[in-house]
């Protein structure tokens, strides 16, 4: 069990390093590794959200291209690679599937330190991992409800009854992730 955890943690740190190599030296080998892991997941995510295979392929390629182009904006003290890629995929999904714009919050003002604190990075990556484990450990029914929400696959009555979402169950995890983020934003 612990070894899976360690492996996951190491994997997270690896992805962070790959994105750094793209940013610093346009490293295509690092990109190929990220692509191999994430592109099929993004494609699956888009298909489960209602895209057909052709559109999902197209969008997954675009999402990975955005990752390359915006590598300099990735802040590993605020998000894991998977989280950052999720936000890019989600925005592409709203644009391509729902034909809507997605208003984004104003960016935080740029700080003085260009490099995020390593302790913050490590803690955030760990926290993301534990959040993933907490979701995996939910009873099937609850987990499916959360997954459906993220695939935009909730019926109207399910949306109306969002109180039924098992947010309480993973609240302690969200709370911890929140404390990390608050700290990282300072």
């Amino acid at each position: 069990m612990t070894s899976t955890k360690d492996r996951k943690q190491k994997e997270n740190e690896d992805w962070v390093a790959c994105i750094a190599r793209i940013r610093e030296s346009q490293d295509e080998a690092a990109f190929a590794r990220l692509f191999g892991h994430f592109a099929p997941r993004v494609k699956a995510f888009l298909m489960r959200s209602g895209a057909d295979a052709t559109l999902a392929e197209e969008c997954a390629q675009e999402v990975m291209a955005v990752l390359w182009q915006k590598a300099h904006l990735f802040d590993p003290s605020r998000a894991s690679a998977a989280t950052w890629i999720f936000t890019i995929a989600r925005n592409r999904k709203i644009d391509a599937l729902r034909k809507q714009k997605r208003p984004e919050p104003e960016d935080l003002p740029w700080g003085n330190e260009p490099e995020p604190d390593q302790a913050d990075v490590l803690a955030l990556q760990q926290e993301s991992n534990q959040l993933g484990e907490a979701i995996a450990a939910l009873p099937d029914k609850q987990r499916v409800l959360i997954e459906k929400a993220y695939f935009s696959d909730l019926s109207h009555s399910e949306i109306a009854d969002q109180t039924g979402l098992p947010l309480g169950t993973i609240k302690s995890r969200i709370r911890l992730a929140l404390d990390r983020l608050r700290h990282a934003m300072k």
């Binding site: 291209a65 890629i85 809507q100 919050p105 959040l131 995996a136 969002q162 109180t163 992730a177």
Partner: protein, 216 residues
């Protein structure tokens, strides 16, 4: 431009729906504007985005087409480096709202909604409506209920209703159970961003007759 004194925040359900990309555009705009003003909700959104990251990791895989990586590299070479957007200039409105107005508060094309109240409808998808409301100091928005959900974000000034006092950055989440009469604080004119997913329901006859014309 963040406000430490905010006491009315977004609900978990709204943050999760925004993170998942399930809100109508008008609601997303209101949520994005609040987060621009509120570090607390920005951090909470980060936690919900992290849930999305966990979902991406565990949603399985779909095989990419042959030659997909090379095709993506070609996309990247064709696009070239992207410029980072210039940092937002100092302004009295959150950036996402400026994008919809096409400028600052001075650029808003107000239309009278009667009794000194003015409004401007912003261009969003039709599932829900976003509007700016200008309520003169001490004036009231007619007593109304809601068929759906109404989000009201205070941008300047403050208002008071049956629920509480709402100041800059505060957001009120009203549903079908709430009939309220927001009254602008006497100290200053109040400017709000309001999003609704169904027409408001006014209790007096005159506002009800005027409703189809005013689109409020």
């Amino acid at each position: 431009m963040t406000y430490v004194q905010i006491k009315h925040h977004l609900s978990d359900a709204l943050l999760m729906a925004y993170s998942a990309g399930n809100l109508p555009e008008a609601f997303s705009l209101t949520v994005a504007a609040h987060i621009s003003m509120c570090d607390e909700c920005r951090a909470r959104l980060g936690a919900f985005d992290a849930m999305g990251g966990a979902i991406i990791e565990r949603c399985g895989t779909a095989e990419m087409n042959a030659g997909s990586l090379e095709a993506t590299m070609q996309r990247i070479r064709a696009t070239g480096p992207v410029k980072t957007a210039a940092p937002a200039r100092k302004c009295n409105l959150p950036q996402p709202l400026q994008d919809y107005i096409g400028g600052d508060l001075d650029a808003v094309k107000w239309r009278s909604a009667g009794m000194g109240v003015k409004q401007a409808i912003l261009p969003t998808s039709r599932e829900a409506t976003a509007r700016l409301l200008f309520i003169p100091a001490g004036a009231a928005v007619p007593d109304h209920g809601h068929r759906g959900t109404e989000l009201t974000l205070v941008l300047q000034g403050a208002f008071v209703d049956e629920v509480d006092h709402f100041g800059p950055g505060d957001i009120e989440i009203a549903n079908e159970d709430l009939n309220h009469t927001p009254v602008a604080d006497i100290g200053a004119d109040c400017i709000c961003l309001a999003a609704t997913d169904a027409p408001l329901r006014f209790r007096g006859l005159i506002p009800r007759l005027a409703q189809p014309f005013l689109r409020i």
